[in-house]
């Protein structure tokens, strides 16, 4: 009995810091509609600043709590800077831009933190006066945990007061529903957004600062918390602070007991709970459908089939690439194989997002499924390479079929979050299921068949499969099936009103996108000779999003440019110190300066050259 109660209290204490970061995320989303990937970074910064302040200020209780509050205030100011410099410029951009931009901020903060505090984990002091344990039902409970259990509801109460008893709170709640109307009533949304972002950043910083006595401060804090924070926000309902509290308690308490029954569950459990909640309540426990009065969006320009000249140029480019092994059969060839795989992966994601209008934050799931399926087919089933290559996309398609069935029932951010959850569940499974997947050690020795083992031979194989995949994706986008998907993307209600079962089409689109990503994964596994859980990680999903963004969402050729640019860029800058900050900077420059991506930029140039009129409004 005592043991279980202690476990329950530990869960509640964990819930407090999770609630703090998630409530901030939720407030920011509610007002700005931005999914802030950098929120974990603000949490991490809170911990680092608190560490420095607490250890510099005198060690008494006064110094500790002052340090915690000061750290949160500093993070609030940093949040304001981020909002003014970056987010303010992209409120009208599609979700993809916002997500990738905040990911760029995350990368920069990671390197800045590394430069200031170094790579070593920092062990903070315990909270003065709360460093011992009390016995409850005979079990030792750290006093600090009890303090945290009290702090959570207190902060919830303060936020509630702020939102219901102040004019600022009323305005924020109104803006959460209809920003444009709030503006038409004379409220300067800019400062409302900045201040809401500051409150959110303050809460994240506070959450991080309060963790100092509990865990060592490290550079991994940002990504390790952000996944769970997303889950909590989605379960609670995006924009609902009460929901964030309830969800944080549910997740943390379930986790505290879950690990007793099944120790490996902690990586998967939050995402499982989220998937279940989203299926039962598509807007989370306390959420409501977002207002239709968002910012005015520019209708997407129709995709045009390629002209004869265009086809000739592409064919010539493919022929030129095919000559590559004559020039070099070493490093450049390996890099080109990477580019081809990335192109196929990015094109499959683009098909899902650009054509299907379904934004996925977890497309790596199907890339990884393909890679693992092929690797296991070779190692465990003893299949020959070509059979394994066919097996991979099939398994990926099967996975996409299962997860897609749930995903197409949602839309927008909730859809994106469920795809993320699916990818995280699979990642957790590959990571934990050591007897089959090898866990962290991965699967090694996945080499191509003898005839394809030389670099040029594998290069041709990759070239044939990728080009075939790309041509097929193109073909699908311009088929009646593609028209239905694009119709559904632009106006789901009208599409259904003319008698189309949109959900079924979207499901099929999801499966196809998964299968092509699986094919890319298969090529990846054989080109590297190994597979690791990284293949399904958030990082891999984000890489795909960056490629699509780099290339531009509006053209089918976009992902091809984007993937090439990304692989070459990453290959170059990953050799530099602080490459994350450089990559983050590049991402921000592209999002802010060239929102149409490389392909959009090129077609803009082309139109300038031809003296043609610009099509559509360029924001």
């Amino acid at each position: 009995m005592g043991f279980y109660f202690a476990q329950f209290l530990t869960g509640l204490a964990n819930a407090s810091s999770l609630f703090l970061i998630a409530s901030g995320l939720s407030i920011i989303f509610g007002v700005t509609r931005i999914v802030n990937f950098a929120h974990g970074s603000l949490y991490m910064l809170g911990a680092y600043f608190a560490y420095t302040l607490i250890t510099t200020l005198d060690a008494g209780g006064f110094g500790f709590w002052t340090g915690v509050i000061l750290a949160a205030l500093i993070v609030a100011v940093i949040g304001a800077v981020i909002e003014i410099l970056v987010l303010r410029r992209i409120y009208r951009a599609p979700e993809l831009f916002q997500l990738v931009a905040t990911f760029g901020v995350l990368l920069i903060i990671q390197d800045v933190t590394l430069a200031i505090w170094g790579a070593e984990d920092l062990l903070g002091p315990r909270a003065p006066g709360l460093s011992r344990a009390v016995r409850i039902f005979g079990e030792p409970i750290p006093e600090y945990d009890i303090a945290l259990i009290i702090i959570g509801p207190v902060v919830l109460g303060l936020i509630w007061l702020l939102f219901s008893r102040t004019r600022w709170g009323v305005l924020v709640r109104a803006a959460t529903q209809d920003r444009e109307m709030v503006g038409a009533l004379g409220v300067n949304q800019r400062w409302l957004f900045t201040s809401a972002f500051m409150v959110g950043a303050f809460l994240a910083g506070l959450g991080g600062a309060l963790q100092v006595p509990r865990e060592s401060v490290s550079l991994l804090m940002d990504l390790s918390i952000i996944g769970e924070a997303f889950v909590v926000v989605v379960i609670g309902g995006m924009g609902s602070v009460t929901g964030a509290f309830v969800a944080a308690v549910i997740i943390s308490v379930l986790n505290a007991f879950g690990v007793l029954v099944f120790p490996q569950i902690s990586l998967v459990l939050p995402f499982l709970v989220m998937a279940v909640v989203l299926i039962v309540r598509p807007y989370g426990l306390f959420g409501t459908a977002a207002s239709a009065h968002g910012p005015p969006t520019v209708p997407e320009a129709p995709m045009k089939p390629m002209s004869i000249a265009g086809i000739a140029v592409v064919a010539a480019a493919v022929a030129l690439v095919a000559l590559l092994p004559r020039l070099d059969d070493g490093f450049i060839l390996v890099l080109m194989i990477d580019v081809l795989i990335a192109m196929l992966f990015a094109a499959s994601l683009h098909f899902l997002m650009g054509v299907g209008g379904m934004v996925s934050f977890g497309h790596a799931a199907y890339f990884g499924l393909g890679a693992y399926a092929a690797a296991l087919a070779v190692k465990a089933l003893g299949l020959p390479m070509l059979a394994a290559m066919a097996f991979g996309p099939l398994v990926a398609a099967l996975g996409a079929m299962i997860f897609g069935w749930f995903c197409v029932r949602l839309s927008g951010v909730y859809l994106a979050m469920l795809t993320l959850a699916a990818a995280q569940i699979l990642w957790g499974v590959t990571f934990q299921w050591q007897s089959v997947t090898g866990g962290d050690d991965g699967i090694l020795g996945v080499w191509p068949a003898r005839w394809a083992s030389s670099k040029p031979a594998f290069f041709y194989l990759a070239l044939v499969l990728s080009v075939a995949g790309l041509v097929l994706i193109r073909h699908l986008a311009h088929s009646p099936f593609g028209y239905v998907l694009r119709g559904g993307r632009d106006s789901p209600i009208r599409t259904e009103a003319i008698g189309i079962d949109l959900r079924a089409h979207q499901w099929l689109g999801f499966i196809l996108a998964g299968a092509f990503a699986g094919l890319a994964g298969v090529l990846f596994a054989f080109s590297k000779g190994s597979v690791f859980p990284d293949a399904l990680s958030i990082g891999q999903s984000i890489d795909g999003l960056i490629m699509v963004l780099l290339g531009g969402v509006q053209a089918l050729i976009g992902p091809i440019f984007g993937a090439s640019a990304f692989v070459l860029l990453e290959d170059y800058i990953s050799r530099l110190d602080y490459w994350r900050a450089i990559l983050g900077g590049v991402i921000l420059v592209i999002v802010l300066a060239a929102p149409n991506g490389i392909a959009g930029g090129l077609s803009g140039l082309w139109q300038l050259v031809r003296g043609g009129r610009k099509t559509g409004e360029r924001a």
Partner: protein
């Protein structure tokens, strides 16, 4: 008070408003008439700064406001009552009014919550209820009251009689008369000729985004062809 000239607004490539010109004098009620899709709402949104016109001029009180963001236009003294009401459904009636509250303005009537509750007794009874739980007519009253909380000098009313019960339409007419009595200027977009005749001093008719008629109702009656061809009667 308001002078709109040569206003051109586009949605993407589509030319919605062509050289719209209209004026509203101080303490004048002007009806902006036209069929569905004629461009009434777009005209009002263009004035309010919710849609950005490509060219033209909108002079309010001697100041060019074309291109100004909506919150600035509002702060200059133009109130906007949207067609779809756009009540904050999860906020109480009082909180909805709070969102609209602006400081008092010289030469404009000053509205308080209590004054508005006097004008709209139904709202007073429901002051602590969520906006989303009000009936359609009550929501229509709330959206007007919310705009008046900003103490405007000119109110843009987008289709106030649309989709509400006849009894409420009568009440609406009284409210507009009250606004005029208080010294406000009002621009009402309407499809209902009878209602606009009841409440307004002058009419401007637009068709396919261009002005077809501007004048008094007597002028309009003198040539029945105009109303017949431009309005859905």
């Amino acid at each position: 008070m308001l002078e709109v000239a040569a206003l051109n607004t586009f949605y993407g490539q589509a030319h919605i408003l062509t050289d719209i010109a209209l004026t509203v004098g101080g303490n004048e009620v002007v009806a902006l008439l036209g069929r569905n899709g004629a461009g009434k709402s777009t005209t009002i949104k263009s004035i309010m700064g919710l849609v950005r016109p490509r060219s033209g001029s909108i002079v309010y009180d001697g100041e060019e406001i074309l291109g100004a963001p909506a919150f600035r236009v509002c702060r200059l003294g133009i109130g906007y009552v949207p067609e779809e009401r756009r009540i904050f459904t999860e906020l109480t009636v009082e909180e909805n009014l709070e969102v609209g509250r602006r400081p008092a303005r010289e030469n404009a009537p000053e509205w308080t919550v209590e004054r508005l509750f006097h004008l709209f007794p139904n709202l007073a009874e429901r002051r602590r209820q969520a906006g989303g739980r009000l009936s359609g007519g009550e929501q229509q009253m709330l959206t007007i009251a919310r705009t008046l909380m900003g103490n405007p000098r000119l109110v843009l009313l987008d289709e106030p009689s649309e989709g509400i019960a006849p009894l409420i339409v009568e009440q609406m007419a009284r409210v507009i008369a009250e606004m005029k009595r208080e010294g406000l200027a009002v621009l009402i977009s309407e499809q209902n000729l009878h209602f606009s005749r009841l409440v307004s001093d002058r009419a401007v008719i637009i068709e396919k985004g261009a002005v077809r008629f501007a004048g008094t109702f007597a002028d309009l009656d003198a040539d029945p062809e105009i109303a017949k061809t431009t309005l859905a009667i």
